[in-house]
């Protein structure tokens, strides 16, 4: 575009929104590392401006009919032209605003949460990096720019998950996240390359237009759609690449709230939204997506039902809800997926931030422990948790209810009823585990009652769950027997020095202390707040909670305006008219209330034992806590197949075949030399024989010639 960019308000706003966080990142890393307050100020200022610009853009283009695209020439090679730039259409504007708002709230929250941490500036630098990458991803006009920022988002996730890198399990979790998403990214790259090969360029607008079907045969379309979906599986933690997300809870809670609930893992779903018409062209890919979404949703819900760690419950819940979103999108209903993405971003971030307040105060992740230590006495976080969990379960009139209904309506449109059944089952399980969390937090039991109850419920065989042979992050799948054994002090010498986590390595079976629990425990850097400071920190953390809770409540009523707004997105695609099944909302509501009731019966009543129905079945319990043995499977895969199989094969090939052949050539040359020397210097009769042999061969040659 040759318009002076200072005069075009839209372009200016887009540039400011995306580049200022990058500037903040650079400045912090280079210049202001030693002044934490200044770094935080820079970062928050940048994200505030970004938020302002995003809101401005959303407001200015509320009635956007055609997408606006700004591009600058970047990669030109022959016929291939890949520019850099911005693509502004309803989806991207909505995503931009979501990202900016939640980043802003979380950066403010982190002022309180991470106060006193030695890596404070580094933290804000990485947060700015993330904001920049995510915004440029949202506004990417072609798949290549999207891929670049996709990887950058993964990189900042790695930095942030392993933020407390002195703890071994945290750095392991960061590595695991990066490697697993990388596996998905390979598939994504293959899909992008396929599209590039056949289409000639990677502009999203072109990919979404019908003419892509003219360039690519249906099989190719399916193949590239499936490959791109592989990338989405990796980034959005769907089956089978889902085990990195629970381990990513080693990072600080605001990071979990920002990255691993609302924005980064949503990038996968966002990519799906971007290429929605493209995916629509291939029914096979849609069905595969439905299946994977359904499986992930149900699997993660089962894992959440038995977890004791608050952040892990929320992580599993994220996976489950992302699967639900993907199901909605794959059912053909564009709006329901986008809507649920937005509402989920709101209430999941809310839930994580509330969890952060609890963890910050009580220095443990375990929900029973939190309840016992008086978690429910913190009024604002408890209320917000209740609101968030209710939204998650889908209780009207919160936003979660509306978006769930939209998705279920989309699922009901499909000819195969199994998807709708899966969706409804998911609704039931979601309500169950969400309110399990609530009831455990609200109604703590005394130590003796719980220990007694737990002993009755579990058979003797399961008293000692097997030590997992691999690193799964600091949060072990806990058994009820860890109750009462969690009070270990990780700092016997009480010193903090530079690294409070001088004891790295795997933790014992019976502790649930994560990296951040240690950070908040006695001796950690976050523990030494004075009383007044406590109050200030508390209110800095509480305001974002209140804002998010307000959004959660209000967003549901914005469904129709959003629907018209997003209806302009793909006018060419004939979206199926949702057949209004009258009884569907009521059925969903009944299931929700059923889930809540079951949770109440098991966890909330006065004399309830607080042991779920799944925990009474040891086989199921073991299956769910071991994450359906996926981690075992991956460890086996890496150890047996990759290490002992493929790597050994290549190693032996390198040694025996490649080196061996060269050695063999040398040996052969030496042997040949010996043979010739033998002919020359040996007994005379051999030489006579050689002469005769040559003569015979010569005669043979001459004979054959004539």
């Amino acid at each position: 575009m040759h318009t002076a960019w200072t005069q075009d308000a839209t372009l200016l706003a887009a540039i400011l929104a995306t580049l200022l966080p990058f500037l903040a990142f650079v400045l912090i890393m280079v210049a202001t590392r030693s002044w934490p307050r200044l770094s935080a100020g820079l970062s928050i200022a940048a994200v505030t401006v970004s938020l302002g610009c995003a809101v401005f853009l959303l407001e200015a283009h509320w009635n956007l009919e055609k997408p606006i695209q700004y591009t600058a020439r970047w990669l030109v090679s022959g016929d291939i032209n890949i520019p850099l730039g911005y693509l502004l259409d309803p989806t991207s504007l909505l995503m931009l605003t979501t990202v900016a708002l939640i980043s802003f709230l979380i950066q403010v929250y982190s002022l309180g949460y991470m106060a006193g941490d030695p890596g404070f500036s580094r933290y804000y630098a990485f947060l700015s990096l993330f904001v920049w990458a995510m915004m440029c991803l949202a506004l990417a006009p072609n798949l290549f720019q999207l891929y670049i920022f996709w990887e950058l988002v993964g990189l900042s996730s790695y930095f942030l998950i392993g933020f407390w890198y002195e703890k071994f399990s945290a750095s392991q979790a960061g590595k695991k996240a990066l490697v697993m998403t990388r596996v998905g990214d390979v598939s994504l790259l293959l899909g992008i390359l396929l599209v590039l090969l056949h289409l000639g360029n990677l502009n999203i607008l072109e990919i979404d237009s019908p003419e892509v079907a003219a360039h690519m045969s249906p099989n190719l379309l399916t193949l590239s759609a499936l490959l791109i979906f592989g990338g989405i599986i990796g980034k959005s933690a769907q089956f089978p690449l889902l085990t990195w997300l629970p381990d990513a809870m080693e990072g600080p809670t605001p990071v979990s709230a920002l990255l691993h609930s609302s924005t980064m893992v949503a990038a996968g779903v966002y990519l799906f939204e971007r290429l929605f018409p493209f995916f629509l062209l291939s029914p096979v890919a849609m069905t595969v997506g439905l299946a994977i979404g359904a499986v992930s949703m149900l699997m993660a819900a089962t894992m959440a039902m038995v977890s004791r760690d608050m952040k892990q419950i929320l992580a599993y819940s994220t996976i489950s809800q992302l699967g639900f979103m993907i199901m909605g999108l794959d059912a053909g209903s564009f709006f329901s997926g986008v809507f649920h993405l937005t509402t989920h971003a709101g209430f999941k971030a809310l839930l994580f931030l509330c969890a952060g307040v609890f963890i910050h105060k009580y220095a443990t992740n375990d929900i029973f422990e939190l309840a016992r230590q008086g978690g429910r006495s913190l009024k604002i976080p408890m209320t917000c948790t209740l609101i968030g969990a209710a939204a998650l379960a889908g209780i009207p009139p919160l936003s979660g209810f509306f978006s769930k209904e939209a998705i279920l309506a989309g699922l009901a449109d499909l000819s195969n009823p199994v998807w709708l059944a899966a969706g409804l089952l998911g609704v039931f399980l979601t309500a169950y585990y969400a309110f399990r969390l609530i009831f455990i937090l609200l109604f703590p039991r005394t130590a003796m009652a719980l220990a007694g109850a737990a002993k009755v419920a579990i058979s003797p065989k399961d008293r000692n769950p097997p030590w997992p042979p691999f690193e799964k992050g600091g949060n072990r799948p806990s058994s009820p027997f860890s109750y009462g054994a969690t009070n270990t002090s990780p700092f016997p010498n009480g010193g903090t020095k530079n690294s409070p986590f001088s004891k790295g390595g795997p933790r014992g079976i019976f502790t649930v202390k994560s990296a951040e629990a240690n950070a908040h425990g006695p001796g950690g850097p976050h523990s030494g707040h004075a009383a007044g400071q406590h109050r200030r920190v508390y209110w800095v953390m509480a305001w974002p909670l209140i804002i998010l809770a307000g959004i959660t409540v209000m967003l549901g009523f914005l469904q129709s305006p959003l629907e018209t707004f997003l209806g302009h997105q793909y006018p060419a695609v004939a979206l199926p008219e949702a057949a209004h099944i009258v009884w569907l909302p009521y059925l969903a509501l009944i299931l929700t209330i059923g889930g809540v009731g079951l949770a109440w019966a098991e966890f909330g009543r006065r004399d309830a034992r607080q042991v779920g129905f799944v925990e009474r079945i040891p086989v199921l319990y073991r299956l769910f806590t071991e994450r359906w043995y996926l981690d075992h499977f991956y460890r086996l895969l890496v150890d047996r197949v990759i290490d002992r199989g493929i790597a050994t094969l290549f190693f032996e090939n390198d040694n025996k075949v490649i080196d061996g052949s060269i050695d063999g050539m040398c040996k052969g040359t030496v042997a040949m030399g010996r043979l010739l020397a033998f002919l020359n210097s040996a007994m005379i009769q051999y030489r006579l024989l050689a002469t005769f042999a040559v003569l015979v061969l010569l005669s043979l040659y001459l004979f054959l010639k004539f």
């Binding site: 020359n680 210097s681 040996a682 007994m683 005379i684 009769q685 006579l688 024989l689 005769f692």
Partner: protein, 100 residues
């Protein structure tokens, strides 16, 4: 009318082979020289038969020369063998491998 020329050639060939075998496969110097003699004899058979075949006397003349050369070579060769035997004490050609 005697035999076809090809048969004579075959006979000479077999004889040549036998002589070669004697020269190469026996570990005795004297047998080596004997083998050479046999080979020369085979060649002279061929020459005489060829002289008969093409009615030229050159073949027979050459046999004369072969005879003379064979005599020469045997005498000098055997003298050398005797000399070598006096130096190394054996007739085995394997013992004469000074280059190895």
């Amino acid at each position: 009318m005697i035999v076809p020329f090809g048969h004579v050639l075959l006979l000479a060939g077999v004889l040549f082979l036998l002589g070669l075998f004697c020269a190469v496969a026996r570990r005795n110097l004297i047998m080596m020289v004997l083998g050479v003699e046999i080979m020369l004899n085979a060649a002279s058979i061929v020459f005489v038969a060829a002289a008969l075949h093409w009615k030229q006397l050159e073949g027979q003349v050459f046999v004369l020369f072969i005879l003379a050369v064979a005599a020469t070579e045997v005498s000098v060769g055997l003298a050398m063998i005797v000399y070598a035997y006096r130096r190394t004490g054996s007739f085995d050609p394997g013992a004469y491998n000074l280059l190895q």
